[in-house]
Amino acid sequence: MFSERELERYKRQMMLFGEDGQERLKKAQIFIAGAGGLGSPVSIYLAVAGVGKITIVDMDEVDGTNLNRQILHYDRDIGRKKTASAEEKLRELNPDIIVNAINMKIDASNAKKLVGNADGIVDAMDNYPTRYLLNDIAIAKKIPFFHGGIRGFYGQATTIIPGSTPCLKCIFPKAPPKELFPVVGVTAGIIGTLQSNEVIKYLTGTGELLTNRLFIWDGMQAHAEEICIERNPSCEACGSTGKKKKTGKKK
């Protein structure tokens, strides 16, 4: 059941997927790993769309160098925990949802518990080791993993449905070296918004998901394209002949 305020808030999108779709959003829990460049647009758009419970996890404090892209955080937030800043903004954006902001480093000891009963994981991380960990959790829990990555004017995204699409390790078996990556805020905006769009479609059961395709954005050329991607039967994370991870896998 929706309040009058909610019915008004969501009126223009219920024209697309009805009150039933909106109810699905309201009942959903989404786990957002990271409250930075990607986590900002992802959480903002999922909050205003009415995703009922948003868990957002980050371990950092807001730094002045974040502000060109991390639009959840304002100048006044420098030095604050990103989770405190994120929780405040998201609650102001939509007081009718639950925001669970957790200040913690995601690691192998806590990832499964942090993700809990979420209906999906949004990858808003800035490193592959944590992405691989969340990929494993998504496989173990059989929940979708909405991948995004950015660098400079370039970005990539895909939607991973465990058991039917390639997983992150099928696509990128080896992590690139760590670096202080250059980036403009709009790249985070484009890729993060695309990830949010995927979450909304998945939850409401509308449209075609970005599955089995790697979306590649070239902001320098204002050009988007996609590459077909396939499962790797010997993938160490999801493959039928790959080694089993300690997080477990379902097939």
Binding site: Y154, Q156, I171, F172, F181, D218
Partner: protein
């Protein structure tokens, strides 16, 4: 024969993209990318290690099909092939 090489993300910044190149029959995937990448030392270093092997994180595709990095040195390119070389984009 002619093949098309497509670089992505930071490889594209360093080496350009949609490079049409004439190659001799029997040219191997690795040697072709090596010769093109050597035009920019920074681009070469982004793709290859000090032993001239692909960095393990580099993704290689031929006509939309994945080529294992270890197989690239013995995989010949064919006329009309479209070759893609890209890195995992890591930032968030």
């Amino acid at each position: 024969m002619t093949v098309k090489i497509r670089f992505f993300a930071q490889f594209r910044e360093l080496l350009g993209t949609d490079i049409m190149t004439d190659v001799a029959a029997g040219t191997m995937f690795t040697s072709l990318i090596t010769s093109v990448a050597k035009k920019n030392p920074e681009g070469y270093a982004a793709i290859f290690d000090e032993n001239g092997a692909f960095h393990e994180f580099v993704i290689l595709m031929k006509n939309g099909k994945r080529i294992d990095n270890a197989d690239a040195a013995r995989t010949a390119v064919m006329d009309g092939d479209e070759i893609a070389v890209f890195p995992p984009v890591a930032g968030g």
